[in-house]
Symmetry: C2
Subunit: 198 residues, 2 copies
DNA sequence: CCTACCGATCGGTAGG
DNA sequence: CCTACCGATCGGTAGG
């Protein structure tokens, strides 16, 4: 084997740090994610971890980006084959339900947890989390509007209201699953979603 | 003025600590609530704070109790005049909407935040939060069942499903209000609730 | 990537 | 309730 270039090796280490950080942060929160814990888990020194990012905040922002990438792959990507409009909308929310049901991350939906943790703060981490949440909601609203235009949902449907209620069903699912460990929660969420979108 | 007994004074200090702790914890979380911050805010020494509780976990549990008392007063208590069944159910959820709309605590609903923070942990704090959430949901379910028995809601209504969807609307409200600072959120929640309970 | 630090802060204790 | 501590850990830096 030829030796890896130090550039490639550093990038690989950096990705491993962010990946481990995402898993930790989904359980402990983005603030509970500490450099020391990350270093111990990966067998690195603290400065070996921090050197890749410069500051904890930069690390947190990279973890948020990694969460967005995972979300794009595991939720949005899985719905892309469905035609736009009502079927795409149903596929998107079903992908989300399946995403938390399968337990892709050990702490459930990263964005739900991060939103709750950072909603009362200010700064770049809060802005990144809120912005990505906003993009997800805009994508849902767009599919609602397309469904209305195609006659798949009643004319005059308030798409903001539909997105609000869909978000509620998803939040209720994450809540019931994680706080009450209620195995019936995914079925309840699917029932609620089906009734809203019938 | 006769001097207060040291017992009464100590109790008063203890209550002031818990009250300040509740306000801090609603913003910073129960783990972000530190003895040092509390001591500085109240002009006490760290050991002056900790001496009342013995450990941080005991303090956290007392803050959870204080949150439950506040919730009982500001949410459940406000709905008590309504007759049981559908009207009580509507009054309970409207009290909750009003509770976060009025901004009773600076960080929104304490239990929503604490549930998200502790859902992946174990121990007495998690148990207290989950238990109180369960009591709230049981109270809602009871009113749904009474409403069905009185013919105010359709026979065969799945009360667990109704409580799941109501919880979702309340979670969506807290989320939209705190992460997006969306002033339209209370109206959206009221619309969703009214439609569910019509 | 490492060792070896820094000042600050954490929860908690001893003794009064 | 206080002062005066404790060991552990925090994010971060210097220098290699």
């Amino acid at each position: 084997m030829s030796p890896r270039s130090s550039f490639a090796h550093a990038r690989q280490t950096r990705e491993a740090i962010v990946e481990a950080g995402l898993r930790i942060a989904s359980v402990e929160g983005l603030e509970g994610l500490t450099i020391g814990r990350l270093a111990a888990d990966l067998g690195l020194s603290k400065s070996g971890v921090l050197g890749h990012f410069g500051s904890k905040e930069t690390l947190q922002l990279e973890v948020v980006d990694a969460a967005a990438e995972l979300f794009g792959r595991e939720v949005v990507g899985r719905a892309e084959r469905a035609p736009e409009g009502l079927r795409r909308l149903r596929a998107l929310v079903e992908s989300w339900v399946s995403y938390v049901e399968r337990g892709v991350l050990p702490g459930g939906c990263f964005f739900t947890a991060a939103a709750s943790e950072f909603d009362d703060r200010s700064g770049p981490v809060r802005n990144a989390v809120a912005g990505l949440a906003w993009v997800w909601e805009r994508d849902l609203r767009r599919q609602v509007d397309l469904a209305v235009a195609a006659g798949e949902l009643p004319a005059g449907t308030d798409s903001d209201q539909v997105v609000f209620e869909l978000s509620g069903h998803l939040l209720a699912l994450n809540y019931a699953l994680r706080l009450h460990r209620d195995p019936a929660a995914p079925a309840r969420a699917r029932t609620a979603i089906a009734r809203l979108l019938e």
